[in-house]
């Protein structure tokens, strides 16, 4: 931590002004898709469509913080009865826990690109650590909004039972769920 503080202080001294910039999650280019195996044959996918969040990001200081919340009642698999089942107490129990939240504050950089974001995923009222690995990361000047946009593709694999989501484990429905995350955030 002292090393990190020292490095931050150093970058503050060299790259002035270095301050965290605020970004707002672009909901039109931010989605989470889950993947879970189906009878060892194919992969079922579903998508979370409603979300909001903010990012503070300082490339010079190599720090950041992201907070993003997903409305679990807006789950979309393309199969209406499955959407319903996923919202029931067997899975997300949205009557009691309508949203999931990720708070990430451990940004790991590779050069000036974010390589990894560690944080906490809260689901079903339980908060556990997860690390999102970047498959892609980039910042660009968006010609439509005329602002800098930063984002990328991230992924992680979680064990749903850790959050108490156990339905079907005894019938061979896998515990491991891969999360694919597209995220873009617009500089304010």
């Amino acid at each position: 931590m002292h090393k990190l503080l020292a490095a931050s202080a150093l970058s503050l001294a060299i790259v002035l002004p270095a301050q965290a910039n605020n970004y707002v999650i672009d909901p039109t280019h931010t989605f989470v898709i889950y993947e879970i195996g189906h009878f060892g044959t194919s992969t079922n996918r579903g998508r979370f469509d409603k979300k909001e969040g903010t990012v503070q990001f300082d490339r010079a200081a190599r720090t950041g913080k992201v907070e993003i919340a997903f409305d679990l009642t807006a789950i979309s698999t393309g199969v209406a009865p499955l959407d319903k089942h996923l919202q029931s107490a067997d899975f997300f129990d949205t009557a009691k826990h309508p949203s999931a939240k990720f708070v990430g504050d451990r940004f790991v950089f590779n050069g000036d690109k974010v390589a990894e974001v560690g944080g906490t995923l809260t689901m079903l009222g339980k908060s556990l650590p997860v690390t999102l690995k970047a498959n892609l990361f980039n910042c660009y000047m968006n010609p439509l909004v005329k602002r800098e946009v930063c984002g990328g593709d991230f992924e992680t694999t979680i064990k749903r039972s850790q959050w108490g989501m156990n339905w079907g484990l005894n019938m061979g429905v896998p515990d491991e769920v891969r999360l694919l995350i597209q995220v873009e955030a617009i500089k304010q």
Binding site: L136, N142, D153
Partner: protein
Amino acid sequence: MTRLGAWAALALLLPPAAADPVVYRLDPAHSFVHFEVLHFGTSTLRGRFGVPEGLVELDRAAGRGYAWVRIDTARVDTGLPAFDARLRQPDLLASDAHPQATFVASSFSFDGDQVRAVRGEFTLRGIGQGLELRALRFGCHRHPQLQREVCGGDFEGELRRADFGASFGMPFVANRVRLVLQVEGIRQ
């Protein structure tokens, strides 16, 4: 195409004397075409189409297979209704003029009794182009409720949307489109 029409189309593809042909009807609850395209070199846009109708015949002993799959282009689902509407426009999916896209394949390669790759013709916006789908996994299981064999897997392929005349938004949104298919077929 009507259901009868689909069977007729399949029948046209079939050789007169297949050794041990088994026909599978794709299960719309476990068959989806997902697409992935890079957005501003930064993150991956994803969307999906359901598969309302698809028939596959496998003759594993003879190492042959035939497939006919239909998607309805107006049913594109990205999670953003405004984006879906934009995709249906004449310069992208052209859903009014070309409501259906089809994949017709009669070149299957096997590894033992596992399907490894399927080559055929994909028709989008009325333009047919060769497309190869490679199996990421393939398997069969006995469905506990249906009490029937279900075969399927995950397949991936790649196309260039400009080859089909759907070039709006390039190069900000990439030409290269990755297709990821979940397919499961119920033995008839």
